[in-house]
């Protein structure tokens, strides 16, 4: 009772807490807000970028450079500072790419931060016997708060008085139907009992007063939220792929480096020289610019997805969506429009279908029958919902309505067909009304008619069909009242069952013209004594309503299906409704049957049905509760079309885990707080931008701004495209590694003058190659990527053997040959024929030899040789660049000929090519002569690649389970 409550929470219902007592409790319990998930400190994030990926290798390179600088400096060598600078440059590269990645990451997190900044909530509290507006954060246990329709509940509240209070618990339970709240204790389970309202749910209508019983993290929502933070974050598929790639390249770098270290030591190079070679090999092998490029490509895609209403919180999630193989989707709001709409009508013994699309302006069904005229009048008049004023210019479907969901549906339905409902109501003045309540289950009103010659009153009534029928003795067929015999009652039953079986909410409508003699103009209608007839009415028809699927969803679901993605519906709704929606959007396709369907068709008990024959399954939350993991796995694997109905948040988590056990990449959509554990557990959590709660948005990796399932599909498409394009980028980048590496290896083995310098390599990796590799992210899809199965996490790697071998051992080698031809050309034209270059390294690099003889007998000073060597670097650099242009063009496609893909569809590629040549021109402002030596090899690369693509077997297009 009230006094017990007062005692328990140390408060007074009339006076509330005293301010000082409240302050004490506030100090003890902390503010009434959810603790945000622990964020990683910025400095840790930053340092992570500094040591992640290739950075370690580059740091090693830098440290080696400094060590060799130290040794050389101590020995007083001639030019020790080269190594110092190299070390500094390497360190700078690491730091700059780290800063860049950190900045990109921070930018995408910032988009999300704006979400959580909401206007601080206010609550009306009684303290010190006064009503006060306080920020909800300052509420404490024992406070007395008042809530009214439209408010968000500021804490968990035990109601002590309520007037027609209804709350929307959808953010907690997923059930969209508003639930009434009173001060009666009705259930042991706090979630079920009627006298508790929960934090973060909203009060839809009515008013109530209550005692705060839990605040902050101790509220029911708070506990669910902490459940979510307990679920660990797993690595995204693309992060795993990139890690794999880094290991691969680092492995190659280290093994070649160590191998050649050993070779050079055993070839009696000095240890110091060997270390310098090692640095060169590492720098040549590591694609310094690649990780930045990947980040840029991902964020470009993220931007593109944001335009299509997918806001990506975590950059890597961009690709995750592309590799998704199962989508566990919510029903309400995601698949459906989240508003009741009239779907079917039954009058004149016939069922009519109504248009349920989002932007209906007319209704196509036959409206000529006089029965429809009568029915439409009831629909219009027996309805308390009204449009908010001032929305005349908006389309009807978008207008805001005051009233509950089904009345809103009826109002809009009538407005679409009849035009201005309000004026019709004004012409048929309401004289009496009994609103809907749960005991009589009907709504009734009495109106004057708009026909001035007809002085009768019209009584209209709507309600639960069986209750309405009980009150009728006649039924209207084609405008004529006919007695309601058993045959007609049978027809009614069949129609009612059929509509109900479609998961729709059915309402019955009837009317009665009150005789003029008994009910004259001045008759005093009294709704309490009911001094008018409420039986022997005339039944007019049925209307059924449903929250209809979004019109784009069936198409999106079928796209998912052809893309090999399984769509599973997980909803808190009733199985019948869930199944009906699943059928109408194609999650359960027209031809497939559930076990129950088969049993019904064959007329055998459910147990005897061969479960393998049923492709679809509708699983009830109650069944799921009793299932072992084994059974769940069985269902997930054996049925291709699954609907889970009446599920709880925990069960959603179990379903997601079950899918992940199958090795699937799982996307989960959700809006409520209850969804946040599942969102977090999923490989990619997708929160709803409009209907979603903050907790869901926090837990998700992606936010759908328009709440539309179809947006997920465009996201999948983008995700797959970026994976393909990243492959191209990586192939492009890896190729030139060989052309950068070979010079070192041949330098060590053949002792020729150094063909390319370490810094020059960085010019390529961080200069000419950056824009072209980003440009590949703009490449269009080669074939219909939505007709492919999702990639297999274990088999379809970002960098596979074929890609590495083709890049390294074929194209890369051709590139090296081309570059070496240029190198030898430079030396030959300056006086050193190829044969004289072999084995000259020691004398060539000796500072004391200043009369080094070339093939013609000319003598070169050391500096002149170095100058020539730098010319060689430039020529080598230029020829790699030229061949990278060819590489870029061949990497545009992986299977198609370049003629199929078209050279000009991706304009950004040309920006890439021109930037590449432009940067190379700036960096090598001399030497136009050597630009063309490598051109034949560039053409060779292209021709070879076209042949290679021709020889590829066609892609398998199979769709196994």
């Amino acid at each position: 009772s009230a006094s017990e409550l007062e005692e328990k929470y140390g408060t007074s219902i009339n006076k509330g807490l005293s301010s000082s007592r409240a302050a004490e409790i506030l100090a003890r319990d902390g503010p009434n807000s959810l603790t945000p998930p622990k964020a990683t400190p910025e400095i840790v994030k930053f340092l992570k970028q500094m040591v992640g990926g290739f950075s370690i290798l580059l740091w090693i390179g830098a440290v080696f450079s400094w060590i060799s600088f130290g040794i050389q400096f101590a020995q007083g060598a001639e030019s020790p500072f080269d190594n110092l600078y190299l070390g500094v440059v390497l360190a700078l590269v690491v730091i700059l790419t780290g800063i860049f990645a950190y900045y990109q990451e921070a930018k995408s997190t910032n988009i999300m931060a704006s979400f959580s900044k909401m206007i601080p909530q206010q609550a009306l509290v009684i303290r010190d016997a006064e009503k006060k507006e306080l920020p909800a954060e300052q509420l404490v246990v024992g406070d007395i708060v008042e809530i009214k329709g439209g408010d968000r509940i500021p804490a968990d509240i035990r109601l002590i008085s309520a007037q027609g209070c209804k709350v929307d618990n959808s953010s907690l339970t997923g059930e969209s139907e508003p639930q009434s709240r009173s001060c009666d204790f009705t259930h042991e389970n706090p979630l079920e009992t009627k006298n508790i309202a929960f934090y973060s749910t909203t009060c839809v209508e009515g008013t109530a007063t209550g005692i705060v019983i839990n605040t902050g993290d101790r509220t029911v929502i708070g506990r669910i939220a902490s459940l979510a933070s307990g679920v660990g974050n797993e690595k995204t598929p693309i992060a795993i792929e990139i890690e794999h790639f880094v290991y691969l390249v680092a492995g190659v770098a280290i093994s070649i480096g160590v191998l050649f270290f050993i070779i050079s030591v055993s070839m009696r190079y000095k240890i110091l020289d060997s270390i310098i070679f090692l640095i060169g090999i590492i720098v040549a092998n590591v694609p310094e610019g690649l990780l930045a490029t990947v980040t840029v490509s991902l964020s470009l895609t993220a931007k593109r997805m944001a335009k299509k209403n997918c806001l990506v919180k975590n950059l890597e999630a961009v690709e995750t969506l592309g590799s998704t193989s199962i989508i566990c989707s919510d029903k309400t709001g995601t698949l459906t429009q989240n508003r009741m709409t009239v779907a079917h009508l039954w009058f004149d013994n016939q069922i009519y279908s109504a248009d349920t699309s989002e932007d209906q302006t007319t209704q196509p069904f036959d409206q000529s029958s006089p029965s429809w005229t009568a029915l439409s009048k009831i629909v219009t008049l027996c309805n308390r919902a009204e449009f908010r004023p001032g929305q005349e210019n908006l389309p009807i479907m978008k207008r805001v309505v005051v009233g509950d969901a089904s009345e809103t549906a009826l109002l809009k339905f009538a407005e679409v067909i009849l035009g201005d409902v309000m004026s019709i109501r004004a012409q048929n003045k309401k004289v009496a009304e009994i609103p809907f309540n749960s005991t009589n289950k009907f709504q009734l009103s009495i109106h004057e008619t708009d026909d001035p010659n007809d002085k009768r009153f019209l009584l209209v009534m709507k309600g639960a069909p069986e209750r309405i029928l009980e009150r009728c003795s006649t039924i209207m067929i084609n405008g004529k009242e006919e007695p309601l015999d058993s045959e007609k009652a049978e027809a009614f039953q069949t129609a009612y069952m059929e509509l109900g079986g479609m998961g729709e909410r059915v309402l019955g409508f009837c009317h009665l013209y009150l005789p003029e003699n008994e009910f004259p103009d001045t008759y005093p209608f009294d709704t309490d004594s009911m001094n008018f007839p409420t039986s022997n009415l005339c039944f007019v028809g049925l209307l059924s309503m449903i929250d209809p699927p979004r019109s784009t969803v069936p198409d999106a679901v079928s796209k998912c299906r052809s893309a090999g993605i399984k769509v599973i519906m997980v909803t808190g709704d009733h199985p019948i409704t869930a199944k009906a929606i699943a059928k109408s959007v194609g999650i359960i396709s027209a031809t497939s049957e559930t076990v129950e369907d088969i049993a019904k068709r064959l007329n055998i008990p459910v147990e005897q049905v061969n479960r393998r024959e049923a492709t679809a399954a509708v699983v009830n939350g109650m069944e799921l509760k009793d299932m072992s993991l084994q059974q769940l796995d069985d269902i997930l694997c054996n049925h291709s079309e699954i609907v889970f109905a009446r599920t709880s948040p925990q069960q959603k988590l179990i379903i997601v885990e079950g899918c992940q056990r199958q090795g699937a990449v799982v996307a989960v959509t959700g809006d409520g707080v209850n969804d946040s554990p599942a969102l977090k557990k999923a490989d990619i959590g997708i929160a709803m931008g409009i209907a979603g709660s903050d907790a869901a948005k926090n837990a998700a990796d992606m936010v759908l701004l328009d709440d539309n399932f179809a947006s997920i599909v465009t996201g999948v498409e983008e995700g797959r495209l970026i994976f393909d394009n990243l492959k191209k980028t990586i192939a492009y980048t890896l190729t030139k590694n060989i052309a950068e590496l070979c010079p070192f290896l041949i330098y060590i083995i053949a002792s020729i003058p150094m063909p390319i310098g370490t810094i020059t390599i960085l010019f390529i990796d961080l200069g000419t190659d950056i824009i072209p590799s980003v440009a590949l992210a703009y490449e269009k899809a080669e074939s219909d990527i939505m007709n492919r199965r999702p990639r297999n996490k274990k088999k379809d790697r970002l960098v596979n053997e074929q890609l590495a071998v083709y890049s390294y051992l074929q194209i890369g080698i051709i590139q090296s040959v081309g570059a070496f031809v240029t190198y030898f050309t430079v030396y030959a034209e300056q006086g050193f024929l190829p044969s004289t270059l072999l084995g000259v390294r020691v004398d060539w690099e000796n500072n004391a030899i200043n009369d080094f003889e070339d093939s013609y007998g000319q003598e070169w000073t050391k500096y002149q040789r170095m100058y020539l060597q730098w010319t060689g670097y430039t020529a080598f650099f230029v020829s790699i660049t030229i061949q990278q242009v060819a590489d870029l063009i061949i990497r545009k496609t992986r299977r198609n000929s370049i003629f199929q893909q078209g050279l000009f569809r991706n304009k950004v590629i040309w920006v890439g090519i021109f930037s590449q040549i432009g940067i190379a021109l700036i960096l090598s402002y001399v030497l136009m002569a050597y630009w063309f030596v490598a051109v034949p090899f560039a053409i060779l690369i292209w021709v070879y690649d076209e042949d290679f693509k021709l020889s590829l077997p066609p892609l398998p297009l199979t769709h196994p389970c």
Partner: protein, 283 residues
């Protein structure tokens, strides 16, 4: 077993592919290099922008540009003497007897000797004789230790060979007084002085020996026609003897050649000049 066999054939196929692939690439590589070589003349290089203007170098050259020895210890200067001896072998009179190859270009500096186009249409080109005797004390004829045993080391100075390069004699007013003393319009004079001001008094007397007693390179030895046309070309030399170097200190000497088209560069310390360090120990 079947799988094993198909694996082996597969591996064999791949191997075969790479053998052919790399074979073809090697062919292409050699082919293009050959084509490229066709565009390059045998007799003169296509470009000389990196090698000119010429460098100035010295003999002996042992490891570093430093000469350090003890006059009384023959072992300590043996490498220098051997190096000089080896270099001068081609300059000995008995090496310059074939008259088909060698030509007597006189005892005094004269003008350039153009020998026609840079091709073997007229066979090999003749080469001017350079008499070792002109180097006098530094010729190694009288003193096989080139003055090292007396603590009076000789070095030989030469201008780097560059095909077709015709050094131009300097314009008189820009030269140091010592160089002007013995001026010839057909001479690229060479002069050595202390690198640093403070060494000026430690360097002592410097003797120069060369063609006709001139300290410089006579123009008739130019232009050089290259290894193929003048395989036994003798580049003109100047011998420099330091007869009174201060012992037991490091003395840095810089030698320069002077000419209108002989340049010096801060980056290339051997272009048109060089510096050498002497460190003679008394015991």
């Amino acid at each position: 077993e079947l799988l094993g066999r198909s694996h082996i054939t597969n591996a064999f196929k791949i191997l075969l592919f790479y053998v052919i692939f790399y074979g073809c690439l090697a062919g292409i590589f050699i082919g293009t290099i050959q084509v490229m070589l066709l565009t390059v003349s045998e007799f003169e290089p296509k470009y000389q922008d990196r090698v000119a203007p010429p460098g100035l170098t010295q003999v002996p050259q042992v490891q570093k540009t430093e000469i350090s020895f003890t006059a009384s210890d023959s072992k300590s200067y043996e490498p220098y003497v051997k190096n000089l001896e080896k270099f001068l072998k081609d300059y000995s009179a008995d090496q310059q007897t074939e008259n088909i190859v060698f030509q007597d270009c006189g005892e005094m500096p004269t003008d350039y000797k153009d020998r026609g186009p840079y091709s073997d249409a007229q066979g090999q080109k003749k080469v001017c004789k350079f008499k070792r005797e002109w180097l006098e004390n530094c010729s190694g004829i009288q003193d096989p230790t080139f003055g090292y045993k007396d603590g009076k080391p000789c070095i030989l100075v030469k201008l780097n060979r560059i095909i077709g390069f015709k050094p131009k004699a300097p314009v008189n007013d820009s030269l140091p007084a010592e160089v002007m003393a013995k001026y010839s319009p057909y001479l690229i004079p060479v002069h050595c002085a202390a690198k640093r001001e403070e060494d000026a008094d430690k360097i002592g007397t410097v003797e120069y020996y060369g063609m006709g007693g001139y300290s410089g390179f006579a123009l008739q030895y130019y232009p050089y026609y290259g290894k193929l046309l003048q395989p036994r070309y003798l580049q003109p030399l100047v011998a420099v003897q330091f007869t009174n170097l201060t012992y037991d200190v490091e003395v840095r000497v810089e030698c320069r050649a002077y000419g209108q088209n002989i340049q010096y560069s801060d980056k290339d310390r051997f272009q048109g000049r060089f510096d050498i360090k002497f460190d003679i120990r008394s015991s």
